[in-house]
């Protein structure tokens, strides 16, 4: 039975359970990989530096994130290259 009152008083996007779930998701990713958000930032900076030795990249658009699939984590890097034309 779902009553009107139940809907009004019921779940919404900012419920404490949703907060718990979001927070746990982040904590578990970092527990499983042993990578802190700080580690991830410095990894990104060093990756940008190394790749820039070989090819021009758009550092501002570069993204690094950890994706979760079941209990497996994958490090995903999205590194847009600058086209040769913009070189001088």
């Amino acid at each position: 039975m779902t009553s009107f009152l139940e809907k009004v008083a019921g779940k919404n996007r900012t419920s404490s359970a949703n907060r718990a779930k979001e927070r746990l998701h982040l904590v578990l990713v970092h527990d499983r990989t042993d990578l802190s958000p700080e580690d991830l930032r410095s990894l990104k900076d060093r990756l940008i530096a190394v790749i820039s030795d070989y090819v021009q990249i758009d550092a501002g658009q570069t993204e690094i994130q950890i994706e979760t699939d079941g209990r497996e984590q994958t490090l995903i890097a999205n590194i847009p290259l600058k086209s040769p034309r913009s070189r001088h």
């Binding site: 039975m1 404490s16 718990a20 578990l28 527990d31 499983r32 079941g70 209990r71």
Partner: protein, 266 residues
Amino acid sequence: MNGKVVTITSGKGGVGKTTTTANLGIALASTGDKVVCIDSDIGLRNLDVVMGLENRIVYDLVDAIEGRCRTSQAMIRDKQFETLFLIPAAQTRDKNAVSPSDMVRLCDALREELDWILIDSPAGIERGFRNALAPSDEVLVVTNPEVSAVRDADRIIGLVEAEEKGPAKLIINRINPGMVKRGDMLSADDVVELLAVKLIGIVPEDEAVLVSTNHGSPVVLNEKSRAGQAFADIAKRLKGETVPWMDLDEKDGFFNRIGKMISGGS
């Protein structure tokens, strides 16, 4: 006989491992299976009082391992079920009195005589946990729908996998359906999604658990208890049966009660 060793563990303490072990022991023995429950929480003996067998202890786990008694002498027979036994933890020793290979040797001998060897693991990820995990064929991880218990469960599930004892199966204990409905408690689906493991049981929060523990008579013996029913279902799933998930909303929550009052239900 070729008994199965099932380890009940958790990471965080106080989530319901001992309660689960006692109830699964009874539920399995009530079908005629031969079962031994081992309390491996050395120094913090607990399973004996939950099973109501504290007055019958003569020898304990460490006595059996160190050869001061035969294994059968350390097995206390249950008051009600002929095929249920308890091997109590030593109370005055520390967890280093037992090693993982001691547990493997003991359980290999027990496998010959019994259908099920249930090991109640201590909390934590140290020696006591390693002891409980070493002989295991199947690992049940107990958690509560609460951030720190879920986080610790994740850690344990990872360690179980690393030791090649996985995949662990999950028991979510102390779900309060009213709070889940209000959005103030993680739902079973949320927890399963976060931990990405197979679920084997959802046990509701139930006052009958404490009452039955007061009597030393586990809640699965109480046919009216929802938690008791949930533990009985887990035992069936362990035996390979397919059991539908219990409707947790039934008999619960303010709105349901009102609904039932209006429609004249009980």
